[in-house]
């Protein structure tokens, strides 16, 4: 009975005009249109030099060196540089020269805050990076003084510091350019090799210890803005890696390990997920998945005697209602996953949308989204005596609304929700699925992706349970 029902359930779904239109034609047409409108930007998206203003409330030479490495810079004021700073810059620039093909990623303009804002508003720069004192450091001068006082404390501590710093420099170089230049060298050799004094080494330790608080301000979302964000994220992970390496290799006196998220706080004026084309495609897959709601509305309808004549007819048969519902649900899962898979395949292989080389996981996320959508539809379908047409209307409105909030129509919406009530984005099923794709494309590890999928899983379980709760009755007061 189950498979017989399942077969007809799938046939019914695939023959339903609404399914074909909303699940297949609609997203494909939309994505083609969108590709036509925005695809160009996306296509040329390789690397463009992004103008950015940098406001140094607390100069950080490590970061400055990294900016040099990633591009070209100019300054509206004279920057003072320590020995270790110029060493870093040199190292970085050398590395850059190794790779002459590369276009500069950033065009950095060091300036004061007011100038930066003016440029941001005029569109001369795409974002402002603020370099502030690390969390917990009171004033800008304070950290240096504290550091000096520390070092001057005793001879032994100075020795340990030197030892550790040399090790840190070695680790940094290893992590940075992969050459294991100072394999078994002692501290002095390393420092001599790099032309640095003990004092320089100590300030390098400070540099690693006192990660600046970096924040990004952008005016609108776009690919260039997301480049900036990725740059900061890359910077964060790179420095923390070298920090950790130093920890392992050194004497263990270093500061506690540093998490990326501690390091960078991206303050969004609007939004900066990734470039809008890709964001849009992610949202669209999420929307198609959630459209499963409308597909699944009939599951309860067709098995409940009080909801439809089909339901009455089925209820008269010796096939238990649970079987009818289960086969209905499975049929919808199948159809919906199929539709989402078609949508993803079309985007990935025809429109060549970049899913960060993790296509199977994109399919997985899409499938779970479909399952969540279908389960939600099952629940809505089981609600009381609302008219079927009303349920269709409600589901459509819900999916459209959620997609809207997730930024399908205007990417800015999601950002302002993120600013004012991030919990809404965390709970919005469309945003959950879209974000899982986003994390897939930017995160090296999958923890945030799995996190989103877990939430989707929880939703699914809740809605299925509610749906079954509501369809559990066997006799009705009224038909």
């Amino acid at each position: 009975m189950f498979f017989h029902n399942l077969k007809y359930e799938i046939i019914l779904n695939l023959r339903a005009k609404e399914v074909i239109i909303w699940m297949l034609a609609f997203p494909i047409v939309l994505s083609v249109l969108y590709k036509a409108a925005f695809g160009n930007i996306y296509e040329n998206g390789g690397i463009t030099t992004v103008p950015v203003a940098i406001v140094e409330n607390e100069p950080d030479e490590m970061f400055r060196a990294m900016v040099d490495f990633m591009g070209e810079s100019e300054s509206t004021y004279a920057q003072d540089e320590s020995n270790i700073g110029s060493w870093l810059s040199k190292t970085m620039q050398q590395k850059e020269q190794d790779d002459p093909q590369q276009k500069p990623l950033l065009h950095a303009i060091y300036c004061r805050e007011d100038e930066a804002y003016r440029m941001l508003v005029n569109g001369d720069v795409k974002g402002i990076i603020f370099v502030d004192a690390p969390e917990g450091m009171a004033a800008s001068g304070g950290s240096v003084e504290a550091g000096d006082a520390d070092m001057a404390d005793t001879d032994t501590s100075e020795e340990v510091t030197a030892e550790w710093s040399a090790e840190a420099i070695k680790s940094f170089l290893d992590a940075f350019d992969g050459s294991e230049r100072y394999q078994n060298a002692d501290a002095e050799t390393i420092l001599a090799g790099e032309g640095l004094s003990l004092q320089d080494a100590a300030s390098f330790k400070d540099m690693l210890d006192q990660k600046p608080k970096l924040s990004l301000k952008i005016k609108s979302s776009g690919m260039e803005q997301s480049t900036l964000k990725r740059f900061l994220e890359t910077y964060g992970s790179l420095t923390s890696i070298s920090g950790k390496l130093a920890d392992q290799g050194g004497t263990g006196t270093s500061s506690s390990s540093i998490m990326d998220s501690d390091l960078i706080e991206v303050r969004k004026l609007t939004e900066g997920n990734t470039d809008p084309f890709v964001t849009y495609m992610y949202n669209m897959i999420a929307m198609v998945a959630l459209f499963g709601m409308t597909v699944a509305l009939h599951v309860a309808l067709f098995s409940e005697a009080n909801l439809s004549d089909y339901g009455a007819r089925r209820s008269c048969s010796p096939t238990p209602k649970l079987t009818t519902i289960m086969s209905g649900l499975c049929g919808c899962y199948f159809t919906q996953i199929l539709c989402v898979a078609v949508c993803i395949t079309f985007q990935a292989f025809v429109l060549k949308v970049d899913f960060g080389g993790r296509l199977p996981l994109v399919y997985l996320g899409g499938a779970l989204g479909a399952i969540m959508g279908v389960s939600m539809g099952f629940f809505v379908g089981a609600i009381g005596r609302l008219k079927y047409e009303a349920k269709i209307g409600i589901s459509m409105a819900v999916v459209m609304g959620l997609s809207f909030m997730s930024g399908l129509m205007f990417t800015g919406i999601k950002a302002s929700i993120e600013m004012n009530a991030p919990i809404i984005n965390d709970l919005n099923p469309v945003a959950i699925i879209a974000d899982s794709f986003y994390y897939l494309s930017v995160d090296p590890d999958l923890s945030r992706y799995w996190g989103k999928l877990a939430v989707a899983g929880i939703y699914t379980v809740i809605f299925i349970l509610l749906g079954f709760l509501m369809t559990r009755r066997r006799k009705y007061e009224s038909l």
């Binding site: 029902n5 004549d309 008269c316 048969s317 007061e477």
Partner: protein, 315 residues
Amino acid sequence: MGDTVVKIENLVKKYKELTAVDHLSLEIKKGEIFGLLGPNGSGKTTTISCLLSLLAYNEGNIELFGKPMTPVSYDSKAKIGVILQNVAVFDELNVYENIDCFCGLYIKDKAKRRQYVDEAIEFVGLKDFTKFKPKKLSGGLLRRLNIACGIAHKPELIILDEPTVAVDPQSRNKILEGIEELNRNGATVIYTTHYMEEVEQICTRIAIMDHGKKIAEGTSGELKRMIKNTETVTIEMDEPDSGLLETMKNLENAYEVRWEAGKLKIFFAGGEHNLLNTMDTIRTTGTHFGQVTSELPTLNDVFLTITGKELRDKD
């Protein structure tokens, strides 16, 4: 005969204030075509829904095939074929698929099911339409498809709720003949309708319902014998004088004479040759008259006599 297939005892079903079925008891034997006759809103569909355990009811007992009927009486359900009032077929499936889809709820075996579906298609005369989607079928053919969906699994008990509403006369006859054939092949039938002609035509026993109550039960003949009238003679004529009216009233077996709208109606209770006697008498008075008809009582007369209102709604 003899085996009781359906037993309803003292069924009461209330929708809030409204009592839709009021202490109804029925017993239907194997092999019967049992007619449930009543005007719209008399509680036929509600009775059927309670019988099928779709509806919860307030009082009473229902047994099918000698066992209490519950929503999980799958054994009993397997033996029932249901054709409900509204057509319930899928627009996306063609004729064959629709029947197969519903038949599959009863019959697991594929080969057997294929045979049953073919037979059902043959039976309702949809052989030329197997690949048609319901939208392409006329009202009558659609009803036939609806019936095929309910009987393909060869049920022992077939319940039809107003299967001929909005059906052309040709399809209606085909449906009624089909029901009789199913019955000849061994099925017990419960047939609800508000068309008295239909129950008179096919039903072996009839219960008449009004306001949720059973007001009469029996064969068509038994029901008609419940009322005084056995024959009504109608004569087209000008208004008769009181002498003529008196003469007619004195006719043997006549118990009432009425003149209305250009017609004289003479009601007889029992006896034979009432029409002949009437004609002889009227000829001797030398009265001019037009068309003469003689009508036997209908179930409508039965209903009218018991409830004081017409059974048929003016549609």
